[in-house]
């Protein structure tokens, strides 16, 4: 990413001070869609996941499931209820500046966090017997599958494609501000929806823990 400042707007989008105004043009920006520096970190985390599953020991699986599950929940809630509404109210040039710094990182963080949480959680459930249909809290476990299923479909079908598409649009020589606006709206809606579902996950997980 080269030094991009919020002053890097063209005269055409002078009206962009109004939060939801669509500027007539957006300057082309130079940044990495996938932050390459983050890939080794992802590789280390995924290797740790494979080792934990292969070892099938309680503590590494609990650590990965709880730590990454907490991160997933908090990021979704924060994106859906704090960052999303703030971005929705920002003038488009400022929103773009936030997007080119935030969204590439999200492209690496979210799939990693979700994969580790689910894979470690499944292995943990197998080890502890909580995924067995004979488990006394089985109905809550199935409820968690259903909520995670909804979140997965929204995240995979709407959130990730919008995330990648808005970044690719911003890298074009002449990005289309209306395309960016439309994709950002979709991203914020999907983040809000998954954030709401994360409240259900918090209820379910605490119910399972209490018994």
């Amino acid at each position: 990413m080269t030094g991009i400042s919020t002053t890097q707007t063209s005269p055409d989008n002078a009206q962009a001070g109004a939060p939801n105004a669509v500027p007539n043009s957006v300057p082309a920006l130079d940044f990495q869609v996938v932050p390459l520096k983050g890939l080794p970190v992802v590789a280390v985390i995924l290797t740790g996941l494979v080792v934990a599953i292969a070892a099938n020991k309680l503590w590494p699986l609990v650590f990965l499931h709880v730590a990454f599950g907490a991160a997933w929940t908090i990021i979704d809630l924060f994106m859906g209820f704090v960052i999303g509404p703030i971005m929705g109210k920002l003038p488009p040039p400022a929103r773009i500046q936030v997007a080119i710094r935030l969204m590439p990182k999200m492209l690496l963080i979210m799939p990693t966090v979700v994969t580790v949480t689910l894979a470690a959680g499944w292995q943990l459930g197998t080890l502890m017997g909580t995924v067995d249909s004979s488990y006394y809290n089985h109905a809550w476990i199935v409820a968690s599958y259903i909520v995670v299923g909804f979140m997965a479909v929204i995240a995979l079908g709407l959130l990730s494609p919008a995330n990648v598409a808005v970044l690719m649009e911003l890298r074009k020589p002449k990005p289309n501000p209306q395309v960016i606006q439309s994709l950002m709206r979709r991203f914020i809606f999907a983040a809000g929806f998954t954030g709401t579902l994360q409240i259900a996950i918090l209820v379910i997980m605490t119910r399972i823990r209490v018994g």
């Binding site: 494979v50 089985h138 599958y145 479909v153 079908g157 598409a165 994709l183």
Partner: protein, 127 residues
């Protein structure tokens, strides 16, 4: 924004993903008991049909940004193949075998193909 007439790739893709998720939940909710596989097979078949229909509809679009579609799709396919491999590894580690393993493996294949298609389509449609 230039509006183009494009097939409902995102809608079909999400429906396809929802079907395999439903099949996975059905199988997982009965573990370790043996359950009739037919509902999961039907859901997987319907999901696969939607994937094929999606690809056929997309293949018929004229003046589509195929270069961009392939450029994005190949990297997305690599990323989702890695995550699919991790999920499959967890199933194998748990000693899953036989028909349930086949159904879940094919479901993972649909996931690993359809998600990159959705990502590549969403990028290429605005090119």
């Amino acid at each position: 924004m230039t509006e183009r007439t494009l097939p409902p790739v995102t809608q079909l893709g999400m429906a396809s993903l929802a079907l395999i998720v439903a099949g996975g939940i059905y199988l997982a909710s009965y573990l370790p008991r043996q359950v009739p596989l037919m509902p999961a097979v039907v859901l997987l078949a319907a999901s696969t049909v939607l994937l094929i229909v999606n690809l056929l509809l997309l293949g018929r679009v004229r003046d589509f940004a195929w270069t961009r579609f392939v450029a994005v799709g190949k990297w997305a396919l690599l990323a989702y193949t890695v995550t699919a491999g991790l999920i499959e590894f967890a199933f194998l580690r748990d000693g899953m075998s036989g028909a349930p393993l086949i159904v879940l493996t094919l479901s993972i294949v649909v996931y690993a193909v359809h998600v990159p298609v959705l990502i590549a389509f969403t990028v290429a449609r605005y090119d």
